[in-house]
């Protein structure tokens, strides 16, 4: 009898944009096959919205759509619980709820959730979490340890290169706009890329605030906000503090209704005063036309300010 090879599904929403590469290398190193849900499109977003509580954020709706797209295509869907990395280094509570939330939404719908838990404040680090998750899949400790190390190394190298490339953009000629947004918003092919794509088409260089040296950004974030407690928001806030004088404008880009963004972006706009700033909130209804009009007028303001209009 042929042995069944395990397949793990990776939903391409939320933390995929932070850990996707790490996950893929890790499982591949262990000889476990992974399958992706595919790029976000209208169908995925609508399916996710139908599965969600109305008030949930657009990013969660998209995520659940991705999980639905994996149903029947894998043995497990990977949904970690990521809670904290230390003091004032928390995740939005949604990332704490995510595995159980997914489990309850898809109860009886043929989706099995595979999870691991990172909660440094409760002494649960990432490496131990990976070890115990893969141990549950019947892999030896040594094997898993090696795979994790390898995945981590590759992930760090990849990230370093990405940061280096992004840093180069600050030195380029032309109008530069810093996009302060969560990775899963700005990088999402259906929602965020529409924004960066439009800017590029208009001859503006969009630079991602979330692609930044994370340790450095965490330190800088305290220049703007002392008690900001969300890891990913702090990276973005820190990046804004590091780069506000190197860009011509800042776009605070958010998916409706993002809890941390609703507060953090308000604080940024009250404390970072001398750069043109646009607060742009994307929802499932906002067609591209409305967004483009606002982007267009924002770019006009920058050009006007610099005497180029």
């Amino acid at each position: 009898m042929e042995e069944h090879r395990m397949v793990i599904g990776l939903p391409q929403g939320l933390l995929y944009y932070r850990y996707g590469a790490l996950w893929q290398t890790f499982f591949n190193e262990l000889g476990i096959e992974t399958v992706l849900s595919g790029p976000t499109d209208r169908r995925i977003m609508d399916a996710g919205a139908a599965l969600s509580i109305d008030e949930a954020c657009l990013s969660l709706k998209i995520f659940l759509g991705h999980v639905a797209a994996l149903a029947g295509r894998c043995d497990y869907v990977l949904v970690p619980r990521v809670s904290s990395f230390g003091r004032h280094r928390n995740m939005c509570t949604r990332f704490e709820a995510l595995p159980d939330l997914t489990g309850n939404v898809f109860r009886g719908k043929g989706v099995k959730v595979l999870s691991y838990e990172v909660d440094v404040l409760s002494r649960k680090g990432e490496e131990a979490a990976f070890l115990s998750m893969a141990g549950g899949l019947g892999r030896s400790l040594r094997e898993v340890h090696r795979a994790y190390r390898q995945a981590k190394k590759e992930d760090q190298a990849r990230r370093k290169a990405a940061v280096r490339a992004e840093e180069q953009l600050y030195k380029s000629e032309g109008i530069k706009v810093l996009i302060a947004a969560h990775s899963y918003v700005v990088e999402d092919p259906y929602i965020g890329r529409a924004v960066t794509g439009y800017l590029k088409k208009s001859g503006v260089i969009p630079i991602r605030a979330d692609v930044v040296d994370r340790d450095e950004a965490l330190k800088w974030s305290q220049d703007i906000s002392l008690t900001c407690k969300w890891e990913m928001s702090r990276e973005i806030v820190g990046s804004v503090a590091m780069h506000e004088h190197k860009v011509d404008g800042i776009i605070l880009l958010s998916a409706f209704p993002c809890g941390p963004d609703a507060m953090v972006n308000e604080l940024i706009s009250r404390r970072v005063r001398d750069v043109p700033m646009l607060n742009l909130v994307l929802d499932s209804q906002s067609g591209t036309a409305g967004v483009e009009t606002r982007l267009e007028s924002f770019v006009d303001i920058i050009r006007f300010k610099e005497g180029k209009l």
């Binding site: 159980d100 309850n104 941390p260 507060m263 953090v264 404390r271």
Partner: protein, 360 residues
């Protein structure tokens, strides 16, 4: 006289009826003046909503509005707590908004302290009053905590029984007098005697319940589920319809007994959730199942608009509802939620559970 001039005038926004305990601790334990914020009104909400970011959760707006009212009432020092959800970021943003408006005050934001360290509590106390007497502080602080326990105990009793008061109002009267005693208590004897007198008075009221009264359990977000203004007096409305209203969630249960972390409660809900889904999620899921297993007639889930942890609990509650065939009413409160709209939904819910009771 000089002391009175130097005394800080501290305020912390209205939160259910707990402000009597805040007042007691600030005045008796910390030796400062407590500025009781004006009762929450429509004006509070309008002020809060006007100056808050649009998509922040409603308690942010309520507390911001109430802080403005405290400053108008003469407070010179505002206190804001830390917290595990967005609450932990209220302080810094509210301080910024108020300072941008031009108010002058000292702001004590507990999020700036590492509240996992005991040393930090001493720093906070010293900042509020450097000449505090440690022994007196500890004794009076504990009395303030006891006041919270008494308040939660009698409030729980009150809403279970007030719908069945056969005297025509004595029960309400006894509870009101209890609150007055707590809000005016100035020493340990005042607290203890006020509590015991209220207990006696409440027990003396004739309560006439049908053999199987309608029982409804309340679960939900920590502020809105408890604060009568914020939930538009839901408990009063429900009990007024002749319903036994049960609510586990209060400060005593959550902080003094269950103390936040995932304790033994999670055992009974392991099949529904493996992890702690949010600051109060384990307790809410546990209690919802408890209500279902105890044969309650319905559950009401209460939250403010945009409360992330409670939105995420809803799919679990939907599963409990399906498993136990127990109706769940989901209520979301924002700055615009109206009394009339709520009453319509409550009446419909009442009719439905009442009919089910008669049929089943």
């Amino acid at each position: 006289m000089k002391d009175a001039m130097e005394q800080k005038k501290i305020s912390f926004p209205r939160y259910a009826e707990y402000n009597c305990a805040f007042k007691y601790i600030v005045e008796q334990a910390l030796g400062c003046k407590y500025v009781m914020p004006p009762a929450l009104t429509k004006r509070t909400m309008e002020l809060g909503a006007k100056y808050s970011p649009e998509f922040v959760c409603t308690p942010f707006k309520t507390t911001l509005g109430n802080m403005i009212e405290s400053l108008e009432a003469g407070a010179d020092t505002l206190l804001m707590t830390h917290g595990l959800c967005r609450l932990g970021y209220y302080g810094e943003l509210q301080e910024q908004i108020l300072k941008d408006l031009g108010y002058k005050f000292d702001f004590i934001n507990l999020s700036e302290y590492d509240m996992s360290k005991k040393k930090e509590y001493i720093r906070i106390v010293r900042r509020i009053n450097p000449r505090v007497n440690p022994a007196k502080f500890l004794a009076e602080f504990m009395e303030g905590v006891r006041m919270v326990e008494y308040l939660d105990e009698l409030t729980g009793e009150y809403y279970k029984n007030r719908g069945f008061d056969a005297s025509g109002g004595d029960y309400d009267q006894a509870y009101r007098e209890f609150l007055t005693a707590m809000y005016t208590a100035r020493c340990r004897a005042d607290v203890e005697e006020g509590y015991r007198a209220a207990r006696r008075a409440m027990q003396a009221v004739p309560i006439e319940k049908p053999l199987r009264p309608l029982r409804v359990g309340l679960v939900g977000e920590f502020y809105t589920v408890m604060d009568a203004f914020s939930n538009l007096e839901l408990e009063r409305k429900l009990s007024g319809m002749g319903v036994e209203v049960h609510r586990w969630m209060n400060v005593t249960h959550q902080f003094l007994q269950y103390s936040g972390g995932q304790k033994n409660m999670h055992v009974k809900i392991e099949d529904l959730c493996r992890y702690e889904m949010g600051p109060t999620s384990t307790a809410n899921i546990w209690y919802a199942r408890e209500c279902a297993e105890r044969g309650f007639d319905g559950i009401i889930h209460i939250k403010s608009a945009a409360c992330t942890p409670e939105i995420d609990v809803m799919p679990v509650l939907q599963n409990i509802s399906a498993d136990y065939k127990i109706p769940v009413l989901y209520l979301t409160y924002d700055a615009q939620t109206s009394d009339v709209g709520l009453m319509t939904r409550l009446e419909a819910f009442y009719d439905m559970i009442d009919m089910r009771k008669k049929v089943l």
